[in-house]
């Protein structure tokens, strides 16, 4: 009897060790590029190019960071990106929550049809509408700065945010609206005084994803921003790659500096991140 139990636990231990071995191997492969980026960013250029490769920087060249930062006005890129993120976050929070309310808390004819139209625009390639948009913005003299990227967010262009907020609003009980209605509140009052205060977690998710989107956005600024003074971090990185191609520690320090805020943010808001993504896939099935 005891032998059998022993064998079983040993078998279990073996299986669990095997699982961990696979998981650790995959972790090493997936984590390696980031590790190598961090290590390279702290080497001298000579060490970075050494054959056979030097694994641990010796000495740690922390000065790579201040050096590349002052070489390409990196703080300016960060400021531009923060401005881009902050303004679009305001736009998305206002317009997407209004639209989401209309698509969830009020029942009206044509609502579900329009909602389907909205979601299906996600399937249309971005480039299918780009050229007339560019011509239009050019005519309004809006090209060269962030306005073409900011204005649409005030008009519900972030369909992901609207979708996410709608899903959340639908989980709130109808009774809270009914109670306010009995007290004589109109729809807008119910929206601002009842529904929005209950939706802080969903709004936090929307803000987080909009920030990450802006921080990563390359195509939008590439099309509309032509002056380097207004470059966001993403375009700043390509500038560094183009200018200092031979100085890999600088390039990796820049990549690291662009990655770190997002990774830190992820560690502080891991649950929000994971939940936000999971909603997309499992939220609406028809």
């Amino acid at each position: 009897m005891s032998v059998a139990i022993n064998r079983r636990t040993r078998h279990k231990l073996g299986a669990s060790a095997g699982k961990h071995a696979v998981l650790i191997l995959v972790s090493v492969v997936l984590g390696f590029p980031l590790l190598w980026m961090a290590l390279t960013s702290l080497k001298t250029n000579h060490q970075a190019l050494a054959v056979p490769p030097v694994w641990i920087p010796h000495p740690f060249v922390w000065s790579n960071y201040p050096d590349f930062i002052s070489a390409v006005t990196f703080p300016r890129f960060v400021l531009n990106t923060l401005m881009y993120a902050a303004t679009t976050i305001v736009g998305v929070c206002i317009s997407s929550s209004l639209v989401a309310y209309g698509f969830s808390r009020i029942r009206w004819r044509g609502r579900d049809f329009l909602f389907k139209v909205m979601v299906s625009t996600l399937l249309i390639p971005f480039f299918a509408t780009l050229i007339p948009l560019f011509v239009m913005y050019k005519r309004f003299d809006m090209v060269g700065w962030y306005l073409p990227l900011i204005v649409p967010t005030f008009l519900g262009s972030s369909i992901f945010s609207t979708f996410l907020l709608r899903q959340f609003f639908m989980t709130l009980p109808q009774s809270v609206s009914d109670a306010a209605r009995v007290d004589g509140a109109n729809e807008f009052t119910i929206f601002t005084r009842v529904i929005l205060p209950m939706s802080k977690p969903a709004l936090a998710t929307v803000i987080l994803f909009q920030f990450v989107y802006c921080w990563n956005d390359y195509l939008g600024p590439l099309i509309y921003i032509d002056n380097q003074v207004w470059y966001p971090v993403s375009l700043g990185l390509t500038l560094i790659l183009g200018t200092y191609t031979t100085n890999w520690p600088w390039v990796m320090a820049a990549a690291c500096a662009a990655t770190l805020p997002i990774v830190v943010l992820f560690f502080f808001a891991q649950r929000t991140f994971i939940a936000g993504i999971a909603i997309q896939g499992t939220g609406d099935k028809g």
Binding site: G102, P125, T129, P132, T171, L237, I277, G281, T282
Partner: protein, 317 residues
Amino acid sequence: MSIPVTTKAAPQTAKMRKGPNRPRIQRRTRNGLLFVSPWLIGFLAFFAYPFFATIYYSFTNFNGVQSPKWVGFANYTALFHDPLFGTSLFNTLFYTVFELPLSTAAALGLALLLNQNVRGRGIYRTIFYIPSIVPLVASCLIFVWIFNPATGIVNDLLNDVHIQGPGWFFSIAWSKPSLILLGLWGVGQPMVIYLAGLQSIPAQLYEVAALDGAGAWHRFRHITIPMLSPVILFNVILQLVACFSYFTQAQVIEGGDIGGPGTSTWFYVQYLYEQAFQFLKLGYSSAMAFFLFVISAIVMVLLFRSSSRWVYYASEG
């Protein structure tokens, strides 16, 4: 975390009530439209108008300054005689055909690994997920560096096991596979969606199947895959949209040598972008844009048609 969805309106009660209710229904419709009006205006201005304008421009000669001049189908005939158009279309389809199944398998495989009952699952999940939140441009810089044929660590390590590493991004044969590898590194997003899907499959299904003597493969094939199929469809759609608009990674990595080496990494929308914004051939690039829309619409329709055969919705059965 998943949020239940109710789109069905409550069944209309007796017709008699329609009369006195009419003002209420009208008020509701007015309110609803008011609330969604920001999107409705945005949809008309930033989607509907430019969509139809693209079609119009595609039949004109237009440089953005002078007014468009009607040329009929000239842009389309020129397209089909343009070798780079064919190359960029081929490269994009090549990328899609390999990236789509490989990334689906990778994301699903990683999700299955994470769905096991092991200690430290949260840590593994974090490590698997983090590459997908690294800013895209930063990922490109990292890959260009580690896959550098002469000084990169990957070829160094291959050298240690006596394999002559290829030229990766600098080789005509390997440039597209290298981009596919970069794509596979960032499958964290679909992975998380699959993981959420896996966790919502009721455990009893597996228990009953195990009692019936179904092995691990059978359980995967006949429970996991059908139960996940709506999520698979969702991820495949997102992936397809992304593949058709594949741009950023190629543009960043190629740097000064767009499309290179040779023409091995000219992607469709890169070529469209160049025609539009470098050469101001807005009519020609609009024809490319509309053609892209037609292709992706056809693929989407085929995908949705086929989905009734392989996507299983638990609520229907």
